[in-house]
């Protein structure tokens, strides 16, 4: 089998699992994204790269327009491509009293990977904020994911990781400090999104001597898919480490979610993966 770098240099679809855990879908008011809501073009780009699946939240997540309508935009896309697009329920600290209702509404729509929250243009909050507790309890009950743009209060993040052990917390943008915390908190992951510096991820794998704490993310489809894959494909790390970050680590998270067994989203990928499921 060819290496990831060889596939990328040839512009050929990857044949190993490729799951992007940090995507967005919807219109953007402050920038021009050509064909931003063209579902067919997004799926076609995923096909060209060999990207199996993108976990997507809303555009302008939690700070623009009607939150339910923004979530419906993503969930409608996921309904049209249920094995390729897995939606996050996007929530906001603007409207804390309605977050639980919105989360339950989204969960009732079908497979949902968890909750995404951002920081821009909304009141400050931490994982210990009162309104967060009911959200995290629901995520724990369903063994789902909580993705945040950036965890500003690390002490409260650690507290939440310990209290909600069945929730997997993902830091949305590359941060070596999160990887350090993940060594002592098995339910914490770092997303590689925007690891801009040359071979930052390869250096991080070498520093940690492991690759199981990182998940590829790109902000696709606000930006192109190469914004995630490119930092990994050329990196100075073993091929197994690249494959972990590009897909295997995310597959392991999917496997622990109850709906993954019945939804069919993992069909086909498990055989390629060769994960020891015991």
């Amino acid at each position: 089998m060819k290496t990831t770098r060889e596939y990328v240099c040839a512009g050929q679809p990857l044949e190993t699992p490729f799951i992007d855990v940090h995507g967005h879908f919807g219109p953007w008011p402050d920038t021009f994204i050509p064909h931003t809501v063209d579902q067919g073009r997004i799926i076609a780009e995923m096909d060209r790269y060999g990207c199996d699946m993108v976990w997507m939240s809303a555009s302008n997540p939690g700070y623009a327009g009607d939150l339910a309508a923004k979530n419906d935009c993503v969930f409608d896309f996921a309904a049209a491509y249920p094995e390729r697009i897995i939606p996050y329920c996007t929530l906001s600290s603007h409207d804390p009293q309605n977050n639980v209702k919105e989360l339950k509404r989204c969960l009732a729509r079908g497979p949902c990977i968890g909750v995404k929250m951002h920081r821009y243009s909304q009141p400050s909050y931490t994982m210990r904020s009162d309104f967060m507790q009911a959200i995290l309890e629901i995520l724990a009950e369903h063994r789902l994911v909580y993705l945040n743009h950036v965890f500003e209060n690390v002490i409260d993040l650690e507290w939440a990781c310990d209290k909600y052990a069945d929730v997997v917390f993902i830091a949305g943008h590359f941060n070596p400090g999160i990887n350090d915390l993940a060594l002592s908190h098995p339910n914490l992951r770092d997303c590689t999104c925007a690891a801009m510096h040359p071979d930052a991820i390869g250096a991080e794998v070498q520093r940690l001597k492991r690759s199981d704490t990182m998940l590829v993310g790109s902000d696709f489809s606000q930006v192109h898919l190469g914004f995630g894959l490119g930092m990994i494909a050329y990196g100075n790390m073993a091929e197994d480490d690249k494959r972990n970050i590009l897909g295997n680590n995310a597959l392991r998270l999917l496997e622990r979610i109850p709906w993954s067994d019945t939804s069919g989203v993992l069909a086909g990928m498990r055989e390629d993966l060769g994960i020891d499921r015991k």
Partner: protein, 254 residues
């Protein structure tokens, strides 16, 4: 497989931490890692430190390999920190320098026809490209916004001078597309990272308007090489963007 001609690579030590290629050999190793065949190269330490009148390091380093093509920074002639414009351009041509770099944020000046007119008159006469990079030394490209009015002013005032805009800002498509439409002498790199950006520029303005710049050592070249490898464009379009556009531009310098 695509081999790239990179419009911006920094050579030499950096005082900002992170990756660097202190020597030509080190830079060539980086280029090999990313399938970059040739590159327009600038002196990274001089860029950071503000050294504008000594070009020995970059010329000597680039003299060791035909794959490394030197570029030098330019400033408003009024300050007289550099040779007079005609002498500076003659120096460039004598030393194989076929493009110059204006970095108005890092070097704190306004880059318009008023400040740069005397120099641009000389550059235009030689069809020598002006590479424009307005990003700050520690600025993140996501929210970067080039000085669009100044760029438009300069490009319109010197319509036969190629202007290559690097670091367009990742989310500045509305301003960039307007500039591309109004100024045929403007080209841009791939830092406008929007979904479908490459395909859309090619569809509306043609494949001659884009170049590949890796921005090493500030950024990972894989961001851009990967994107171009997978873009939904024909092979000749991909080749143009990967390097042929830049090759043609430099070959046209007289």
């Amino acid at each position: 497989m695509v081999t790239f001609f990179d419009c911006e690579m920094g050579l030499g030590p950096t005082g900002l931490g992170g990756a660097a290629a202190p020597t030509a050999e080190a830079l060539l190793r980086v280029m090999g890692q990313y399938d970059i065949g040739s590159a327009l190269v600038y002196d990274r330490a001089a860029h950071e430190a503000g050294v504008f009148d000594r070009f020995d390091f970059i010329l000597e380093a680039c003299g060791t390999s035909h794959r490394l093509l030197p570029t030098i920074p330019v400033l408003p002639p009024a300050t007289r920190e550099q040779m007079p414009p005609a002498d500076l351009v003659a120096f460039c041509l004598d030393h194989g320098i076929k493009a110059v770099r204006a970095c108005p944020t890092a070097h704190n000046f306004i880059c318009d026809r008023h400040s740069m007119g005397r120099l641009c008159t000389q550059l235009q006469a030689r069809r020598m490209p002006l590479i424009h990079s307005s990003i700050g030394l520690r600025e993140h490209p996501y929210k970067h916004q080039p000085p669009w009015h100044d760029l438009r002013d300069l490009a319109l005032a010197f319509p036969d001078m190629p202007v290559i805009v690097l670091h367009t800002g990742m989310m500045q498509g509305r301003n960039l597309f307007t500039l591309l439409e109004e100024c045929p002498n403007v080209m841009a790199d791939l830092s406008c990272a929007s979904f479908q950006y490459v395909e859309e520029v090619v569809a509306h303005f043609g494949s001659a308007r884009l170049v590949m710049a890796s921005h090493f050592p500030a950024e990972d070249p894989g961001l851009y090489t990967t994107w171009l490898n997978y873009a939904k464009v024909d092979a000749d379009v991909r080749a143009n963007i990967a390097g042929d556009n830049l090759r043609r531009l430099l070959a046209a310098v007289v």
